[in-house]
């Protein structure tokens, strides 16, 4: 490592639940596929982790279209967790990720506890999987998902069941569509979660005034993008104050400053979501910006910044 007039070379690596990440910057589930498409635009090796789109035990067809709508400063989506099921995911997506030196976090969705457990068990022996992220927070499917994430008792029990079945450390991904994010983070921690990630999208709606109907076939959708960032920062702060396990922050990260807000509020890692649709290189630019910031502030390790605003 070089030392120069600007101070030490910043160490961007972080440790989350015993897993070392080369940078704190990841991709948010559902906004990056499994990296196959965006690997044509960027070097995936530069990411802290690829967090894959939610996968279930069997293929899911998702919702009718229109599934997406743009809104000022963000977008609504109601994809409905379309996914090819765990078998194809392992054969195609995990095999693809073998070639990269980045962490792989597999996001798992389900309609019932048994669905989640089946998928988690299928991933037990997959060496390429560094962590699991459990989606108990999708607002766009009728069964499972968010139902588990808006009730603290259910969240506690599903976390416990998943922990029993999982070989890898478990991140519970939380929804912002609750009264107290602190209470939900505590329930996940009590259930044995190794980390929590937040926020998933905020339920919203857009009306097409010319057609006088809903912009999305699902009527409601999840709001993401810069519009939700201050809400996400607040919730990262509240959750990280409430639990001892690490928090991974996401929600409208557009710039390094946005990511640093999350880290200072208590996030050990951050994920870029909808902004990858605006520019596939957003996660890379955010990483470079964090490094510049650390040089300017003579910060040796990004871990010094985690939760720095807490009293």
């Amino acid at each position: 490592m070089n030392n120069n007039a600007q101070g030490p070379v910043p160490d961007l690596s972080v440790e989350i639940a015993g897993v070392r990440f080369k940078t704190p910057v990841m991709t948010a589930s559902g906004t990056f596929g499994s990296g196959i498409e965006y690997s044509q635009f960027m070097d995936l090796n530069r990411l802290g982790a690829v967090v894959t789109k939610g996968v279930a035990n069997v293929p899911w067809p998702g919702n009718p279209t229109p599934r997406v709508a743009e809104v000022y400063g963000g977008m609504l989506n109601a994809i409905g967790l379309q996914n090819p099921g765990i078998d194809v995911f392992i054969e195609r997506d995990l095999a693809f990720l073998e070639q990269f030196d980045t962490r792989v976090i597999v996001n798992v969705c389900g309609r019932s506890v048994a669905d989640y457990v089946e998928t988690v068990e299928r991933l037990r022996d997959e060496k390429r999987v560094d962590m699991l992220e459990i989606n108990v927070s999708c607002p766009n499917v009728k069964e499972g998902a968010i139902a588990f994430g808006t009730n603290a008792d259910m969240l506690f029990s599903i976390t416990k069941e998943i922990k029993k079945a999982a070989a890898q450390p478990v991140i519970m991904k939380l929804t912002p569509n609750v009264t107290s994010i602190a209470e939900m983070a505590k329930a996940a921690e009590a259930g044995g979660a190794d980390a929590v990630s937040l926020i998933n999208t905020i339920t919203g709606m857009k009306i097409d005034v010319e057609r006088q109907t809903f912009a999305l076939a699902n009527k409601t959708g999840g709001l993401s993008g810069p519009a939700i960032h201050p809400v996400a920062v607040r919730m990262v702060y509240e959750a990280s104050r409430a639990v001892r396990i690490p928090v991974i922050g996401m929600g409208g990260i557009r710039t390094a400053e946005d990511a640093l807000e999350m880290i200072l509020a208590g996030a050990s890692g951050v994920a870029v979501g909808a902004m990858s649709f605006h520019d596939p290189l957003t996660a890379i630019h955010v990483t470079e910006g964090i490094e510049d910031y650390m040089r300017r502030h003579k910060t040796g390790s990004v871990s010094e910044l985690i939760g720095a605003v807490h009293e």
Partner: protein
């Protein structure tokens, strides 16, 4: 590597009511060698609060000059902002995206191009490439408009026999594109179409009636444009290899599909 690139606007003019032609000068580096007709680019409007690229099909490509032409209709705030971009300004564009018309299936055939309104523009690049690929093939373009506020007709005439249809009969045949094609009574080996969904359904039915293949370009709301978000799927007859359900991505497997393979 694919990339989001900066392009210079060299023209942005209204060619019919609410319809604009925009021309981009592409940088030499990363400039595509060839473009498949029916492919599209994602255009970012000059407003950071508008996150998503607008998918707009390629109307014309001049590889030697590196000029990419798109024709779009102003249909909301984003395209309204796009219409105000001036010559000399730069814009960000992502592409070239999607899967176009299967040229190997079309060259040297008698092709009916069926274009409806703002769906007609990509058929111009197709007509040009079909003409370049075989001087003996017959190319007929049936172009449908609401009124006599026509656009791109002279451009199509350079490569194809043109039949005009208008909803109100103020120009050409009074009626829709399929009715105009039937009235003209030509024989065709294949139909290529782009336009509103009712027209595409008509094309699918007409091709089935004639017992010939048809390739149709679908439109759907998109977010990423590159196959990641799964926002723009269409229903397919066969199970799609990517999704393992009967969904294909309009941005990636499409936007052009064999008509009999999509459930529209």
């Amino acid at each position: 590597m694919k990339a989001k690139i900066k392009v210079t606007v060299v023209e942005n003019t209204m060619i019919a009511g609410g319809v604009y032609r925009i021309k981009f000068l592409l940088p030499a580096e990363g400039c595509p060698d060839n473009i498949r007709p029916g492919q599209f680019v994602g255009v970012y409007v000059p407003d950071a609060s508008r996150l998503l690229p607008r998918p707009i099909s390629i109307n014309f490509w001049e590889p030697d000059e590196r000029i990419l032409t798109l024709v779009y209709r102003v249909s909301g705030e984003g395209t309204s902002l796009l219409s105000k971009v001036k010559t000399g300004e730069s814009l960000s564009v992502i592409g070239i995206l999607g899967n176009g018309y299967p040229m190997e299936e079309l060259l040297k055939k008698n092709v009916l191009l069926a274009g409806g309104g703002i769906g007609a523009p990509p058929l111009l690049e197709l007509a040009k490439q079909l003409r370049a690929g075989g001087s003996d093939s017959r190319i007929t373009a049936v172009l449908g408009y609401r009124t006599d506020d026509l656009f791109l007709v002279d451009e199509f005439r350079q490569y194809a026999d043109v039949i005009i249809a208008t909803d109100d009969g103020t120009a050409g045949f009074k009626g829709n594109v399929i009715e105009a094609a039937k009235a003209a009574g030509g024989t065709y080996d294949v139909i290529c179409s782009c336009g509103p969904m009712p027209m595409l359904r008509g094309v699918k039915a007409y091709a089935a009636e004639l017992g010939i293949p048809a390739y149709i370009s679908l439109e759907e709301r998109m977010a990423c444009g590159v196959g990641v978000c799964l926002g723009c799927v269409c229903k397919t007859v066969h199970r799609d290899a990517h999704s393992l359900v009967n969904n294909a991505r309009v941005c990636t497997e499409g936007p052009v599909f064999p008509a009999e393979e999509v459930d529209i």
